[in-house]
Every structure is written in C-alpha cells, then in structure tokens.
C-alpha cells in the first residue's frame, strides 16, 4: 500500500478536479486495487484536518476539497516561508532572498549600471 501522505496527496489531487466525490468514485480514480476502507479512512482523516468537507447523500458521504489546489499550495508555501523566517539555516531555494539587505540607493545604482550596459550593447 502507498505511504499514507502520498495516498492523501493522490486523494486530494482527485478531489481538486472539482465537485463532490463518493468513496467509491475516489477509489476508482486513485487505485481500484486498494480497499474501500483505506480510502474511507484517508477521507475521514482529511476531513478531521479540515482539508475536505462532506455531506450525506443517502447512506453515503460525498466529499469535496475545502480549497482549490492553488489555495492549498499557497497555504503550504506560506507555512514553509513562515518557518524559513525563524530557521537558523536556509532551507529553501529562492530566486532572491536578500531584499531586506538591499537599500534603495544600491538598487538605483544597479539599475543605472544595467541601463548603461544595455545602451552599450
């Protein structure tokens, strides 16, 4: 069986396609060979974490993601950035991570430098 976080991810990817999904429908998309109860447990766990909401339809639950994929990713990266701010060592590869160290004068100087280089070429 796939590791639980990976399975959670696959289930979420399914729900992010939009609409409400029954356990059986999720099971068919994620991996038809898994047990029904495995998917039901994962969905239950995601519901407890607030990642999915559910409503009763007849005897079964229908699940939908509480956030879109992008919203979920933004929240995840936001958490990582918050941790990065207090981390003793860098743990992200960022395009630019020294904005606060740059004073506006230095930026103007660099801008002039780039402009002159463009004019020359």
């Amino acid at each position: 069986m796939a590791r639980s976080p990976q399975l959670e991810r696959r289930v979420l990817e399914t729900l992010w396609q939009g609409g409400g999904w029954s356990v059986r429908e999720v099971l068919a998309v994620v991996d038809g060979e898994l047990a029904y109860t495995t998917i039901a447990t994962v969905l239950d766990r995601l519901h407890a974490k607030g990642r999915v909401e559910r409503e009763k339809e007849g005897l079964a639950w229908r699940y939908r993601a509480t956030r879109t994929r992008d919203q979920a990713l933004a929240a995840e990266v936001g958490r990582v950035l918050a941790r990065a701010d207090s981390a003793p060592e860098p743990f992200l590869v960022a395009f630019l991570d020294e904005v606060e160290q740059v004073d506006p004068e230095a930026l103007s100087r660099l801008e002039a430098l780039i402009r002159s280089r463009k004019e020359r070429s």
Binding site: D70, A74, L81, P88, V93, A94, E98, V99, E100, K118
Partner: protein, 311 residues
Amino acid sequence: MALSLPLFVLALSLAVAWIVAAVLFPLWSEWVAVSPRLARWSVWVAVLPVVVGAILALSSVIPGDPHLNQFFSCHCATSMPGWLHLCPLHPSRAAGLMLPSLAVLAVLLPGRWRSLGAVISQPLGHGGGAEPTVVDLPEPTAVLHGWLRPSLVVDRGLWESLSSTHRDALAAHERGHLRRRDPLTLMLLRGVVCVGPPSAGHGLIRGWLDHAEFSADAIAADELGDPVLVAEALLRCAQVGVNTRQASLSWTGGRLEQRIQTLLDGRDEGRDLRPDIGAIDLLGVFGLGMAALYVSPWLHHQVEHFLNLSL
C-alpha cells in the same frame, strides 16, 4: 558497568562527528568566503564528520569473524564467529571517554535530532518543475517548493509586476536549480550538518547556496543568451520587495549586488552547471565507506592502545 555497548559506540561516534563538525564547518565557511570555487565541495565536507564518526563506530563493532583473518591481522578476527569484539566491552576502563560521550547524547543531541526531524518533515513537493504556479503568498517571492518533486511557486503580486522576458529569466534560473538538483542537495546538506553543533553548518550551507545561485544565474544566462535579462529580473524582484516594504526570507547574505555584477561582467564565480551530487560523488562516498571498513581494525587497535585496553 552495565551500560549498553551500542549506546557507548553511538555516543562516542557522534561525539567525534560533533567535534569534527565544530572545527571543520566554520573553517570551511571561511575558506569558501575567500575562494568561492571551493563551495562545490561543501557536500563532501558536510559528509566528512559522519564518515569519521562511522569509522570509529566500525572500529568498535566490526564482527569477530575468523574469515576476516585472511584480510586483517587482527585479534578481533580470531574471536568467536559472529561475536562482536568491542573495546567498550571493558567500559569501566574507558570511563574517561564514556562520560563525555554520554553527555553528548543527553545534552547536546536532542536539539539536533529535532533539527533533523524538521529537515525530514519538509514537503516532498507536488512536481511541475519550473512551470510556475502563481498564488497569493505572504511575501513577494519565488521559491522552489519541495525537495524531491519541486515546483516553482511565485507570488501573484511579484509575477504580475514582471514583464514576460523577466518571467522567462526567472523560470530559466529555476530550471538551472532543477538541473543541478539543488533542492535535493540542500535538503541532504541540512540533514548531514545536523551532526554538528547548532549554527556550525550555517556558514557552510550559506556558502553552498550562494554557489548554487551564481550557478543557476549562469545557466539562465546561457539559456537565454543574455545575462543582462537575468540581472534585470533580479533587480526587478528586489525593487518589488522593497516597494512592498515586506522583508523577504531572513537568512540573507546580501549577494544581490554581487550576482548582478557577476552577470554583467561575465565573471566566473566558481559556477558549476553540473549537479553537486552526481554519480561520481556517490561513488566517492561509497569508496570512503570501503576505506573506513578497511582501516577500522587498524583504528580499533589504536583506540585500544589509547585506552590501554590491549589484549
């Protein structure tokens, strides 16, 4: 003394790794600051304390297998088959090393285990590579999120303030990181430096990260055929950050100016277009491990002499 031998061996090995890291990492950071070209080897340096600790562990726990006698003229090898011949079997005479070793485990290591836990719990990522996902972030930044299946995540405000050429430059830079497998290397580096004292590895990681940034800049410049574009994109991102008055990530090294100057001057700051962890590096670590295995019986005797435990 009824203390567990594995505990002793682990403690002694970690204590040795700790001391090696405490001395080596800050020294290495200084050398890299003087000569940025050295940064490519930071991965090796970060692994070294672990290897030294492992050698010590091997020297103590190598099994006493008679067949080994063909290779090692070592009395451990003539012990009973499968019997672990350990110097610390006589721990009462090794109390001088036992106490500081246990102190390492009891006092110093819990924080490092937590750091290691923080490294391991980092998100794997959702894939997608350098194809940007534009979302609302608390900071105007662009990051590769996830260490195994990274995806480029860009703040919407930042993205919308970039021209299409600057967006291309940003994506090319991140492709450079992906080509070099930098997110994975960074994660491994952070994991390995956890054997050392807190903050000892900071300079080492910072130095390597600078090297990775210069290299990704160079890759982007090569890909776009115009280093000025990359320099412009860097400057634009910095301007957006300053204008929005939001501090970006706070481990800063203040390298923006140097990166832009390097791009404009076409200087080589020890850039490396290849991954810093490649097949050769892995082979090297394997070779180091084999060498450790080979020298461990010899080292075992040195340790015994040192502890005055020769049989």
